[in-house]
Amino acid sequence: EPEVTQTPSHQVTQMGQEVILRCVPISNHLYFYWYRQILGQKVEFLVSFYNNEISEKSEIFDDQFSVERPDGSNFTLKIRSTKLEDSAMYFCASKQGAAETQYFGPGTRLLVL
């Protein structure tokens, strides 16, 4: 069964550094999402992406964040200058159609020191 994949599984970085989190959505899916979960807190929506543009973003998704779908398969989340409070588990999700179920990747655990 096809799955959403994410790389890396873990990333440790220094405060102020740029990180790129990568996701490969399920191949025939058209809607893409990033969520994050700070340890002990709820899963929070960051951004949705459809038809090569951002559909919606939360207040968390400030100018430090950007998303890209550089080719037909990858969907990336870039954090330009990481802060300590960016430490979290980042989940990518995708779905085939607007009314379909979102399928989640395994997550990337980001630790900012």
Partner: protein, 110 residues
């Protein structure tokens, strides 16, 4: 404001006992409600959604619009049900993101 509340952080039950994981929501409009489950070291996966009205792994959930609840139930808990359970909602129309509750960890004791 959109909000999902799961009042219990941890729920421990004995194997064979009934399980009820509580979920209340607030949403202006008609939401779609979901339960996602995360087993140890695995990804979030959909357990059920209210519009499909299915029973998955013996779990059911009924949307109660009057009480704005979507409690998850199973008559007889199994050890393999031990996991983190998240209630979530989204708008019915189109490409709306999921809003999650904080989750309830279910521990089924043998």
């Amino acid at each position: 404001a959109q909000r999902v509340t799961q009042p219990e952080k941890l729920l421990s039950v004995f194997k064979g006992a009934p399980v009820e994981l509580k979920c209340n929501y607030s949403y202006s409009g008609s939401p779609e409600l979901f339960w996602y489950v995360q087993y140890s070291r695995q990804r979030l996966q959909l357990l059920l959604r209210h519009i499909s009205r299915e029973s998955i792994k013996g779990f059911t959930a009924d949307l109660n619009k009057g009480e704005t609840s979507f409690h998850l139930k199973k008559p007889f808990a199994q050890e393999e049900d031990s996991a983190m359970y998240y209630c979530a909602l989204s708008g019915i129309s189109g490409n709306t993101p999921l809003v999650f509750g904080k989750g309830t960890r279910l521990s089924v004791i043998a």
